[in-house]
């Protein structure tokens, strides 16, 4: 399959990023690195917020988050995602929805 640049899609969206206060956090980075084989968040997240790094670490940047909740639901074995909605008025602001 061709490489798809999701950033180009996210670029069309409107966001009010809550700088320095990510609404989703990986609870324990070691769990992703050592205990999670699948790292399915790195391909299921529709905004590609989770990246698989070369050293088996998973990093998370929530700026492009679409607030769907998938990452929290699929992390059922490890429950390693601390998931909240952004503070009021922040995050994705759909123009059309």
């Amino acid at each position: 399959m061709m490489a798809i640049n999701v950033e180009e899609k996210l670029f069309q969206n409107r966001y009010k990023v809550d700088h320095g206060r990510p609404h989703i956090q990986i609870k324990n980075a070691d769990v992703c690195k050592n205990d999670c084989q699948a790292q399915s968040c790195t391909y299921v997240c529709p905004a590609s917020c989770y990246k698989a790094e070369g050293n088996r670490a998973v990093t998370l940047i929530t700026d492009g988050c679409l607030e769907c909740g998938s990452c929290r639901v699929i992390c059922s074995e490890h429950a390693n995602v601390a998931w909240e909605y952004p503070r009021g008025g922040h995050g994705i602001l759909f123009k059309f929805g």
Partner: protein, 435 residues
């Protein structure tokens, strides 16, 4: 947000929350509605089709000023393989006679309109405010805590219209985490193009609309469907699959990768060509059906809409169930207040009884086995689409082979793929789940 007490707090301003708040405010109750978006609609995602009936029951004259895109006169169902489709189209001029039965809508605009009606009815709306948790007094919900200073607000009942993630009920321990096998993850884009182009491509006139539901190899064997809807001067195209299937897909495909594949399909690409993409969205859809509906009422709280899993996945209905559950919850509160009853679990049980007596639980019950059947039968989403398109190609290609031989080959292809027992079993499973 001082120490003011409300009759009801409604969390969320989507279809269920707006219907609940509207109904309560119309009856003269003191209602506070809290929305985390910049304005109602700015956090909400839907295909989106509006079914008139559920809205008509609360706002009979909604057609006068609601922002509606096109009324739907034609429904297409396409079964795709990688480069062809077999489809059924149903188009009727009866759908062109007002009052129209269903419309395409753009949710950010529609929800904003609906919210204006809620405020006209007398509810107090606060936006840009996220409710962090419910305030409990033992088993009893007495209010909410918001992410504002002094953000504790009290009410006799809190109606949770906070969407599929159902964050507040989960935190309060009313129900557990969603199961990846019970929710679909859908992604979509909106593509703008001139009205005339849409009308020419879909063979429709001004204000007329077409919806196409898609299934087949585009979902790579995962249980899921796609859609293409006509708005006034835009198209909405999307694809969704069960979240558990995304997770377990050995190809580790991305949702946006599937969407790109769908957009490039030779039967789809000409319809969307030249469209200017202006937004990309993702959303979970609760598709667990009857068996996944949690406890939806308790002492001082009720759950409506997606937060309670009220979606009929088989018929692609959700917003009408959301509006209906919002209305029934509100009517339960209004009746209890009028009778001077406390809003305890005992009183609010009437909400569940009303749901059971309505199409909402009747339809979910009718299809109660469907999620299980579909989710364990991926052949319906890959093997059969390929068999059907293959059969059509064989029958419609004129190449000197006689039709009897073609028939034998087609039957042979079905038997080879599923065996006789599999074919019969699949038919039986579907019949049982649909009956």
């Amino acid at each position: 947000m001082a120490q003011e007490k409300f009759d009801a707090i409604v969390v969320g301003a989507g279809p269920s929350g707006n219907t609940a708040a509207y109904t309560l405010a119309k009856a003269g109750l003191k209602v506070l509605q809290i929305e985390r978006g910049e304005y109602p609609g700015s956090k909400n995602v839907q295909g989106a089709i509006l079914y008139a009936d559920a809205l008509e029951r609360v706002i009979p004259d909604f057609r006068d000023d609601a922002p509606l895109e096109r009324h739907v006169i034609e429904q297409r169902v396409w079964v795709l393989d990688d480069n062809s489709f077999v489809g059924t189209h149903y188009r009727s001029d009866d759908y062109n006679k007002p009052p129209y039965n269903r419309y395409t809508i753009i949710r950010a605009q529609f929800d904003k309109w609906f919210s204006s009606k809620v405020r006209e009815a007398g509810a107090l709306l606060i936006c840009e405010t996220t409710v962090e948790e419910l305030l409990m007094d033992g088993q009893r919900c007495i209010g909410v805590r918001c992410d504002r200073q002094g953000g504790e607000v009290y009410a006799d009942v809190v109606i949770l219209a906070d969407g599929v993630n159902s964050t507040l009920a989960r935190k309060a321990g009313f129900h557990g985490e969603l199961d990846a096998g019970n929710v679909a993850l859908a992604v979509k884009e909106i593509l703008f193009m001139p009205e005339e182009v849409i009308q020419a491509r879909f063979n429709i006139k001004e204000e007329e609309g077409v919806v196409i539901e898609l299934m087949g190899t585009v979902t790579e064997g995962m249980v899921g469907t796609g859609f293409l809807y006509t708005n006034k001067d835009s198209l909405t195209i999307g694809v969704g699959c069960m979240l558990g299937d995304f997770k377990n897909n050995p190809k580790r495909s991305t949702p946006y990768g599937l969407l790109e594949k769908l957009k490039k399909h030779p039967s789809i690409a000409p319809l969307i060509e030249g469209g200017e993409m202006k937004e990309y969205a993702a959303h979970l859809i609760p598709e667990g059906g009857f068996h996944a509906v949690p406890q939806v009422y308790g002492d001082g709280w009720m759950i409506v809409g997606d937060s309670g899993g009220f979606v009929n996945a088989v018929h692609r209905e959700g917003s009408n169930l959301a509006m209906t559950t919002g209305r029934l919850a509100a009517e339960t509160v209004i009746a209890a207040k009028a009778a001077g009853q406390p809003l305890s679990a005992r009183t609010l049980r009437a909400y569940k009884q009303a749901l059971d007596a309505s199409f909402v639980m009747k339809d979910l019950h009718k299809y109660r086995d469907m999620p299980q059947v579909l989710h364990t039968s991926p052949q319906f989403f890959t093997t059969y689409p390929q068999l059907v398109t293959g059969a059509a190609k064989k029958m419609f290609t004129v190449d000197g082979v006689d039709k009897k031989t073609k028939e034998r080959e087609i039957f042979g292809s079905f038997r080879a793929a599923r065996r006789i027992s599999g074919l019969v079993g699949d038919a039986f499973k579907l019949w049982r789940a649909f009956r």
